[in-house]
Symmetry: C2
Subunit: 113 residues, 2 copies
Amino acid sequence: MIYSSELLKGTLKTIVLKLLADNKKMYGYEITQKVKELTLDKIQITEGALYPTLHSLEADGLVTTETEFIGKRVRKYYSLSPSGKNKTKEKVSELADFMETMKFLLDIKPKTA
Amino acid sequence: MIYSSELLKGTLKTIVLKLLADNKKMYGYEITQKVKELTLDKIQITEGALYPTLHSLEADGLVTTETEFIGKRVRKYYSLSPSGKNKTKEKVSELADFMETMKFLLDIKPKTA
DNA sequence: ATAGATACATTAGATTCTTATGTATCTTTG
DNA sequence: CAAAGATACATAAGAATCTAATGTATCTAT
């Protein structure tokens, strides 16, 4: 089972930032595989979603990049900048808070009005 | 504090369905107020987001409507259809599952590789 | 050799939201 | 009683963010 794609909307950036916070530096393909692995295939990040997200994080100064060659193949590593580290804390705690609120909303008991 | 809007994406439909499951019938404005109240103003559904969502649920046969007049003012009540009730269970349980997965992802401890 | 995995990237199109606008009625308050 | 704010519906332009498709190229296993 894979979650319907709309659920990922709004959380992808946070997932990527959190992974970078935990792993120091990662490259795009590695991120897709890591998420797939950690979620037992339930969340699969497509490249069409990931790369624009990474580029946008870079444009916002939240991550920095370094290119490495593996043989002849290029690999682009992403790391959190200082402001990226702050942003990660904000986003993760906001998402955690949001999930608490959602849990409450989803558990509302029937009204006997 | 209001959650950044992107977090709502993908969860709005589920919220609406769940509220209808718990309250039998509700009208649009009532839904916005109920969500505001239950979430202590942290989630505010805008009308521009809500009405298209309600119309889409109706077009999919998940809700039925009945119009009522309060004085001269019209009020449009929405109720779950049988298929809407099934859909609600699916969506709520999928979202609950997704949130568990996200919680796990967000709690990943740093790798000491 | 060839298929599948690794690795980057872009683009057209779909979805779903925000913000603004429009219409109209009802209620409260100075 | 006029004006402001709340109630109640709705649509539309534009932004954001995803999917699905496509492209290029290298590496690895069969």
